[in-house]
Subunit: 183 residues, 2 copies
Amino acid sequence: MQDTKDKIVGLADQLIKTKGFNSFSYKDISDPLAIKNAAIHYHFPNKADLGMAVLEQEFNILNTGIANWEALPEDHQLRHLIGSFANKCSSHMACIMGSLSPDYNTLPSNMQERLREFSAAVIKWVTQCLHNGREKGIFSFKGAPEDRALMIVSNLLASLLLSRVMGESAFEKISKQLLDDIL
Amino acid sequence: MQDTKDKIVGLADQLIKTKGFNSFSYKDISDPLAIKNAAIHYHFPNKADLGMAVLEQEFNILNTGIANWEALPEDHQLRHLIGSFANKCSSHMACIMGSLSPDYNTLPSNMQERLREFSAAVIKWVTQCLHNGREKGIFSFKGAPEDRALMIVSNLLASLLLSRVMGESAFEKISKQLLDDIL
DNA sequence: TTGTTTACTTACTAGTAAGTAAGTATATTT
DNA sequence: AAATATACTTACTTACTAGTAAGTAAACAA
């Protein structure tokens, strides 16, 4: 069944975002799914394989989002992105970048590379969005779109982490300001 | 000797910032210091005690910084803060907030509380700095100083994490923009 | 000089981590 | 109907984790 495999990846994704890659164990997955840890190893020989599967899934979700919002005005696209972060915030999760980057030095090199590619893809998309939006007169900001994109992504990433410590209002205040600054 | 105790805290601080709280072990400390793991337990009965000692040290460093820069113009104060983050960046470290917040859910409650207090202290200080700086005409920005402070802290925190993945230029671009936006 | 405190080491425990080898039931193919 | 592949379980190993109990050498105090 593909079902179990998908459930393992889904749970691993959640666990990475709530506890971090090094802080979750196979037991955290096998217990709720009522399977044995060897079943996880059957689908994913080692933890790095599981981590890679999670990153692939995140990449798919990102690409689906981008494709779905492509035709929308740029401010709507950005609001969708912020909305997806808001959902993570309310379920007390970080994003995959915010969850894996603190552990970056301890990650296997294939996960490091894939995380770098993922981050680059997010930044590239926001850059394009800001660039097009400014040309259409939807956005107004000074400086290069890429620099501004870097700042927006970094802010969204960190606001989820800060919200955990300081409460959800931190996310709301930061995300509101991000939009106010360019609209 | 206070020496060994201080060295343990110093190394633990570094390890938290490079690997994360749950990803470093007593061996990572005992080996380089050429002591036994029981020596660490002698000074810090459990890992939470060690974590608390690291947070206390971070608090002291913060308070020393604040006290030293108090008399300076507000833009200089902010530059000092950014400078201290730049140092962390070049030694491939995150700040204590960026390092501990992803593990927040797994931390003992006294560490959670202390981290919350630490974050609040940083934000409070930046808020005060922005407030005073704007009144003196050094800074210019719209919105509440507290919201802007939240954004600056969140950006600094995240830029260290992003720099790990994307390279140090991420930090430089973000920190430059932070200042440009309010000067 | 004796007793006590400090700062450890030695030697260990119990628990948990990822990972593996071999067996099994079910479904699919030939 | 037999052979094979799939998706596991059972049972285990090795390595490492935080943590502890008991012992020791040196410094200090009475």
